[in-house]
C-alpha cells in the first residue's frame, strides 16, 4: 500500500546533511509508489530543493523563516507540528543528529505518537515498517515497529545507502510560511571547536586514540593522519578521563556510537564499553604495543607496535599512495 512520507531535512553550515539524503532513500523504500515530501527550514530553505528532488523528493516544502536558521526546540516543534498538519504524512523520518535526536521526541509528544529512535535499517513486512536499532550501544539489536497513526523514526547517519542522484528529476517546490511565536531558547553564541573538522557520527574514516597517546600533544600524529585521510578524530574514555582530549571526542557506550567505513584505533586497549561504540564499523585497524589487547579481537587488521612509530609512517604511506592515485 502506498504511503505519503515526510522527510525533515537538515542543513548544517549552509549544506544539506548527507543523512537527509539517506532519509530520502529510506522514504522511497517505504513509500511503495506514494509521495515523498521533504521539508527544509530556515532562510535559505528554497535553495536545497534541487538536490532534494534529485535524491528522491517529489515535493519540497521550504519554510523560509529566519527564526528557524538555528535549531531551538520549541520553535522547531511549532513549525514542524504545523507542517505535519498541512502535509498529513503517514510516515515521518529525520536524521538522528544533534538536532534530530533533541527535537524528534518533543515533536512525537506534541503529535501524541510513538517514535523509533536511531534506526540503522528498515524493511516493509506485510505492509508494516519494521525498524532495526541498536541497544546497549550496539552490543545487541532489536526490531521494532510503531502502532501509532503516524509512523515516526530517526535514522542513524551512515547506515542507509543514498540513492543515485537523478539530475533530470525535479521536485515540486512549495513555499510555506509559519509564524514562529514560541521561541524559548535564545542562542547567544555558537563556539566552533577547532577539533571538529569532520563530524564523528557522519565521518567515513575515524582515527581514534586511547591512553596510549599519553598526552594531549600525543594526539598530534593522529590529527596529521586524519588530515591526510579527511577523517574525524575520536578518543576512548581512557584518553578523555586522562584529560588528553575533550569529551566531545569520546567514542563508546558513554559518548558517541560510530559506524565509519574505516576505524583506526591507536593505543586503545579495547574495553567493552569502547568496543560497543565502534565495533560495528566496516573495517577496523588496531595499532597497539600490547599483542594481548582486546582491540585485536575485533580488528580486521592489526599492527603490534608503538603508535608513535607506526602512525607517522602510515601518514607518509597514505600521502604517497593518495598522490599517486590523483596522478
Amino acid at each position: 500500500m502506498s504511503k505519503k512520507v515526510l522527510v525533515l531535512a537538515e542543513v548544517r553550515d549552509g549544506n544539506l546533511r548527507n543523512v537527509s539524503l539517506e532519509g530520502l532513500a529510506a522514504a522511497r523504500r517505504v513509500a511503495e509508489g506514494g509521495e515523498v515530501v521533504a521539508a527544509v527550514l530556515g532562510s535559505d530553505a528554497q535553495k536545497h530543493a534541487t538536490i532534494l528532488g534529485q535524491y528522491g523528493a517529489d515535493t519540497v516544502y521550504a519554510v523560509e523563516n529566519e527564526k528557524l536558521d538555528q535549531y531551538t526546540p520549541t520553535a522547531y516543534v511549532q513549525a514542524i507540528n504545523e507542517l505535519v498538519q498541512t502535509i498529513n504524512p503517514e510516515v515521518i523520518f529525520m536524521g538522528h543528529t544533534a538536532a534530530g535526536k533533541d527535537l524528534a521526541p518533543r515533536v512525537a509528544a506534541r503529535l501524541g505518537i510513538g517514535l523509533i529512535s536511531d534506526a540503522t535499517d528498515l524493511t516493509v513486512e506485510n505492509g508494516e515498517i519494521v525498524f532495526t536499532r541498536p541497544i546497549y550501544a550496539g552490543k545487541a539489536f532489536q526490531k521494532k515497529k510503531s502502532i501509532s497513526s503516524v509512523i515516526f523514526a530517526t535514522i542513524r547517519p551512515n547506515n542507509i545507502p543514498v540513492l543515485e542522484a537523478d539530475t533530470g528529476r525535479q521536485a515540486n517546490v512549495v513555499s510555506h510560511s509559519v509564524d514562529i511565536t514560541d521561541l524559548r531558547s535564545v542562542i547567544k553564541e555558537v563556539v566552533k571547536k577547532a577539533s571538529s573538522g569532520v563530524d564523528l557520527t557522519e565521518a567515513k574514516i575515524i582515527v581514534s586514540g586511547g591512553r596510549g597517546v599519553k598526552s594531549s600533544v600525543g594526539f598530534d600524529p593522529l590529527r596529521e593522519l586524519a588530515a591526510v585521510l579527511g577523517a574525524g578524530v575520536g578518543a576512548s574514555r581512557g584518553a578523555c578521563d586522562a584529560s588528553f582530549c575533550d569529551y566531545s571526542m569520546q567514542i563508546g557506550q558513554t559518548g558517541k556510537v560510530v559506524t565509519p567505513d574505516l576505524y583506526i584505533a591507536c593505543g586503545i586497549s579495547g574495553a567493552i564499553q569502547h568496543l560497543a561504540g565502534m565495533s560495528n564499523s566496516k573495517i577496523i585497524v588496531a595499532i597497539n604495543k600490547d599483542p594481548e589487547a582486546p582491540i585485536f579481537k575485533v580488528a580486521d587488521y592489526g599492527i603490534v607496535g608503538d603508535l608513535f612509530d607506526v602512525v607517522p609512517l602510515l601518514t607518509e604511506e597514505f600521502k604517497k599512495v593518495l598522490e599517486e592515485a590523483v596522478v
Partner: protein, 255 residues
C-alpha cells in the same frame, strides 16, 4: 530552588549482553545509575548547595531501582519516588506520560536528566516530558549556570558549543563533561538508609494504564554476528605499514 532529577537504572557499561527466552538476560548483572543521569544528579546537588531548596529523585522501574535511589539520598537528595507499578512500565511514550502525571503536583524550577540511557539509548523521555509539562528544554548540556532566575547553558551540538539563555522552569539533559559526580560518603550512606522511598502506583497517580498504551512494539531481539579476529601483520614496522595501506586499498577497498 526546587529540582527534580529523573533517573533510570541501567546495566553497568562493562557488562556483556546475552539473550535468553527472547529477553536480555539480567541474571548476575550489576546495575548502576545511568551514567548520564549521574551527571544530572550531581548538578542538582551542586545547585542545592548553592541556592538551597529541595531535590527530588524519581524513577520508573522495579524494586531493584531502590539501590540507585539510595545512592541519590546518600549524596544529598531530599526525597525519592519509585513508580514500581508494573502496569505503568512501557515505551518512552508511556513512561513520559507517567512521569508527567507524577510531576504535575510537584513544585520545580528545574528538571534534570541524562541525555540518554545507555541501555535502550533512545533519548526520548526527557524531551517528551518537557513537552507534556509545557516547559522549555535544553539538551546535551555541558555547563549550567543560574543567574537572576534564569539559566545560561552550554550545549554540546556535534562538537560545536551553543551558549543559550532560557527562562525557568526548564528541563535540562546532561552530557558528559557537565561535572564530576561525587561518591557517597559513609555518613551519607548511613543517613540514606533511614530516609523513606515513596512507592507510587497507577491508582496513586489517578492513571489508567490502558489509556496510555505503549506506541511501539519490539518484535525481535538479537546479538550482532561475532567478529572473527582479523589479520595481525608481521615483519618490520615500515613493511607492515606498506602492507596495511595496500590491504585497505585492494582487499578492504575503503581508501
Amino acid at each position: 530552588m526546587n529540582i527534580v532529577v529523573i533517573m533510570k537504572q541501567t546495566f553497568d557499561t562493562e557488562e556483556k549482553i546475552s539473550i535468553s527466552n527472547g529477553q536480555v538476560n539480567e541474571n548476575g548483572v550489576k546495575f548502576i545509575i545511568n551514567p548520564y543521569d549521574e551527571y544530572a544528579l550531581e548538578e542538582a546537588i551542586k545547585l542545592k548547595e548553592e541556592f538551597g531548596g529541595e531535590v527530588t529523585i524519581i524513577s520508573v522501574g522495579p524494586t531493584r531501582v531502590e539501590s540507585s535511589l539510595r545512592i541519590g539520598l546518600a549524596v544529598g537528595v531530599d526525597k525519592a519516588i519509585l513508580i514500581d507499578d508494573e502496569s505503568l512500565f512501557g515505551d518512552e511514550y508511556k513512561i513520559s506520560k507517567v512521569l508527567a502525571s507524577a510531576l504535575k503536583d510537584l513544585s520545580y524550577d528545574l528538571i534534570l536528566g541524562g541525555n540518554m540511557s545507555v541501555d535502550t539509548g533512545a533519548g526520548q523521555v526527557a524531551q517528551r516530558l518537557a513537552e507534556q509539562l509545557n516547559i522549555n528544554h535544553v539538551g546535551t548540556v555541558t555547563k549550567l549556570t543560574i543567574d537572576s532566575g534564569k539559566a545560561i547553558l552550554e550545549r554540546d551540538a556535534e562538537g560545536n558549543t551553543e551558549i543559550i539563555d532560557s527562562a525557568l522552569p526548564l528541563l535540562v539533559t546532561a552530557q558528559q563533561g557537565l561535572n564530576e559526580p561525587r561518591y557517597p560518603s559513609l555518613p551519607g550512606i548511613m543517613k540514606a538508609k533511614k530516609k523513606p522511598i515513596e512507592h507510587v502506583s497507577a491508582s496513586d497517580l489517578g492513571l489508567n494504564a490502558e489509556e496510555i498504551p505503549s506506541q511501539t512494539v519490539v518484535t525481535d531481539l538479537f546479538l550482532p554476528p561475532e567478529k572473527s579476529a582479523g589479520k595481525i601483520l608481521e615483519g618490520e614496522i615500515p613493511e607492515q605499514v606498506q602492507e596495511l595501506v595496500q590491504l585497505l586499498r585492494s582487499e578492504a577497498k575503503v581508501i
